[in-house]
Point group: C2
Chain length 138, copies 2
DNA sequence: TTGCTACAGAGAATGATTCTCATTAAAGAA
DNA sequence: TTCTTTAATGAGAATCATTCTCTGTAGCAA
């Protein structure tokens, strides 16, 4: 993703555009997995040795609040970040601790339909996701 | 739950029966919500001032490994424990941070059926659960 | 270009959890 | 019952992720 696009995304969220924010946003967008704050920090520190870990945490939090990225907690209790905003489900491998995305339109529709027919009393659902636990084979 | 029943459950799992284990197991079983280790510690310390927090953590972990209880991580990254072993889904309230159980046989069957028809490549599913996020109304 | 204000950097502080190690108690053997 | 072995416990130190505090810096609007 190029600088101007990142700049627009950040500025349009009403945030000041800074070098740190650009670098951190790019790192999240380019990440294959679901990086932790530490992962982001490691991925940028060679090119940007002056950016501090605290800034990474604060910036990620700012992005989450601005709706630019998502966060969730993994099985170990560590925060994971993700630029994909469409609600999506995760596959946790017990063996390797990897987290992969799972997306299936049919499943999403099925769940949406199910919860429209089975409302939860006094509760307004914002988001439904699936957690799949198991292990890789072979 | 009475002492003898707890004693049987613990002993039959191949674990030594100790006073601490009994007290901690009873606390989890009797808990309404999804207590943290700290909650368990608080709930037992008046009656058992000599039990240490470290023991609560270790014992809960022992129970999880023995399959007596379940654990999961909440949105803040804190471990939650639960005596109900049937895989079940959770409702997270953004407003109150409460976690409630959600169980629905029809939904479980539907998901089981879905994933039998849509295998994930090179992955063996142990458990599927739903995460429902939203907020209480009224 | 200047000034206001939000942002960043450094490191201390916090909170949950794990670890270490000496002491104690459970459970089977004698 | 008493002894012995071994695992469990208690106390507190250590760790790890995350947040906070405070001072210096840099966007950005005027």
């Amino acid at each position: 993703m190029n600088i101007n696009k990142v700049k627009n995304i950040i500025s349009e969220s009403g945030l000041k555009f800074t070098h740190q924010r650009m670098v951190i946003y790019k790192s999240i967008v380019d990440a294959e997995n679901h990086p932790t704050a530490e992962h982001v920090f490691d991925s940028i520190k060679t090119q940007n040795p002056s950016i501090s870990l605290g800034t990474v945490y604060k910036t990620l939090d700012t992005f989450v609040n601005a709706g630019l990225i998502q966060k969730f907690v993994d099985n170990k209790g560590v925060m994971r970040f993700d630029a994909i905003l469409e609600a999506h489900s995760h596959i946790y491998c017990r063996k390797t601790n990897e987290i992969s995305d799972y997306q299936n339109k049919a499943l999403e529709l099925m769940l949406k339909d199910f919860f429209e027919k089975h409302k939860i009393e006094d509760f307004e659902i914002d988001e439904i996701s699936i957690v799949i636990k198991g292990q890789k084979v072979q």
